[in-house]
């Protein structure tokens, strides 16, 4: 299965989780994501995500100059970023649990939808 499509949906929370452990610069984040098993993550996607999270106020940023080489731009997570990470972590866990259940052979729990006017469903007739 093409994991790049899946990655797109979870890249924000993945990047936040990496930075929640330790500050990092662009390629460092890419490397840690790949080391964690997300081998197909594209570096440009990560850099763009870092920039967007920073623009949204979830990250702090600072430039570390180097003597002979180019400067590195480090990112760190801030309180706003941590709250986003909490919310998205819960969202992911719910999602993953649902997918796990769906893909397993466990019986699915009965649906218990509330009655809605105008909807002719089996539930309505009970």
């Amino acid at each position: 299965m093409d994991s790049t499509q899946l990655l797109k949906g979870v890249l924000d929370v993945a990047v936040l989780a990496v930075l929640n452990r330790e500050d990092g610069y662009g390629y460092d984040v890419v490397r840690r994501l790949r080391a964690a098993g997300l081998e197909d993550v594209g570096d440009a996607s990560v850099y763009g995500t870092l920039r967007r999270l920073y623009a949204n106020g979830a990250l702090t940023s600072y430039v570390v100059p180097s003597e002979g080489g180019p400067h590195r731009k480090y990112y760190g997570i801030n309180e706003h970023g941590k709250s986003i990470l909490d919310i998205q972590s819960k969202g992911w866990q719910d999602f993953a649990r649902s997918m796990d259940r769906l893909l397993s052979n466990e019986p699915l729990p009965a649906l218990n939808l509330p009655a809605t006017a105008g909807h002719d469903t089996l539930e309505d007739k009970k």
Binding site: Y27, G42, R52, E67, G69, P70
Partner: protein
């Protein structure tokens, strides 16, 4: 990566191409998005030995979309006004894309990229000409003259190489300043170099023709004479002698510019008058140790017997000469 390394050319070129693909965005967005790009690409380069597989355009597109920035479209360019600059940049980007797509032209491009240090030197030279020449002579010279000029050129070379070998500056105004400096250098080189080169070639031709077509100041029977050595009847070399012509004017060897001028004697000096240095070569150096040895000065006793013993202002034409040839020197005076 280690901190002492500079960005490889391919990485710098790749980053530059990515930036170009983003240049329709606001400058602050581009800076935000590409700050640290060289460092990241370079580290990746060290890991994998290559720049990303994606083309710079695809890489830039991925950066944009993940950053939540608008895609590059013709309408985006049009919203800024379909100016000459945009179409020029687009044509340039398209051309670069075609060059990159072909393996041969891509190899040529890579080769040219490796030649960039040559351009850095040329650029320093051009800026040197632009700045220095109006301050001094007003004449463009191919090579600087004088220690100060060389030192200034050296500083410019260092700056130019530094400007070229460092990563593209983060600030857009600096990039524009660099672009302007490059454009001025290219214009200068394109316009002025032919004139400077032809001037330099002409002057070197003139100076070489002056030195190679040296005409000896004296001639005998159509053959040039550089040095004249005077011997007395005993075959003894006479030093400190001077020749005068029929009008009493000294026969001075013309000396090259800037060398010691011949001793000052009145133009109509009388023979026998004392004077300073001895034989001079055409370059104003005293010609010692270069005189030929007379073949056999004492083997010509007839001369010794018949010749006048006292050297006088009316020297006998029979006076022995080194080569045995009678050279009718106008006047010989001796001390």
């Amino acid at each position: 990566m280690t901190s002492s390394q500079t960005v490889p050319v391919v990485v710098a070129a790749y980053a530059e191409s990515v930036r170009r693909e983003l240049d329709d965005l606001a400058a602050a967005d581009v800076d935000d998005l590409t700050e640290g790009l060289e460092a990241d690409l370079m580290e990746q380069f060290e890991d994998s030995g290559a720049v990303p597989d994606l083309s710079p355009a695809a890489y830039a597109a991925e950066l944009r979309s993940s950053a939540g920035l608008p895609e590059r479209t013709t309408s985006a360019a049009a919203s800024k006004g379909p100016g000459l600059r945009d179409s020029f940049l687009k044509a340039g980007a398209d051309f670069l894309g075609r060059v990159r797509a072909n393996p041969v032209s891509n190899a040529v491009l890579e080769f040219l990229i490796r030649l960039r240090p040559v351009w850095w030197l040329l650029r320093a030279w051009a800026i040197f000409q632009i700045i220095v020449t109006p301050l001094y002579t007003g004449n463009y010279v191919l090579i600087p003259r004088g220690l100060t000029a060389w030192a200034f050129l050296a500083v410019l070379v260092v700056l130019s190489v530094r400007m070229g070998s460092r990563p593209t500056p983060r600030r857009i105004w600096m990039r524009r300043a660099f672009t302007t400096a490059n454009a001025i250098s290219i214009l200068f080189i394109a316009i002025m170099t032919p004139a400077i080169l032809s001037h330099a070639l002409n002057s070197s031709y003139n100076s070489s023709s002056a030195s190679y077509n040296y005409i000896p100041p004296l001639s005998v029977n159509g053959a040039g004479v550089d040095h004249v050595f005077v011997y007395d009847k005993d075959g003894k070399l006479l030093r400190d002698v001077r020749f005068y012509d029929q009008d009493g004017s000294p026969l001075d060897m013309p000396l090259p510019d800037g060398l010691a001028a011949p001793q000052q004697l009145p133009a109509a000096a009388q023979p026998g008058e004392p004077f300073g240095p001895g034989l001079m070569d055409p370059y104003g150096q005293e010609a010692t140790g270069t005189e030929p040895t007379p073949s056999s000065p004492a083997s010509n006793p007839s001369d010794t017997e018949s010749g006048s013993a006292a050297p006088s202002s009316s020297a006998s034409p029979k006076a022995p000469t080194p080569a045995g040839k009678a050279s009718p020197a106008p006047t010989v005076s001796s001390k």
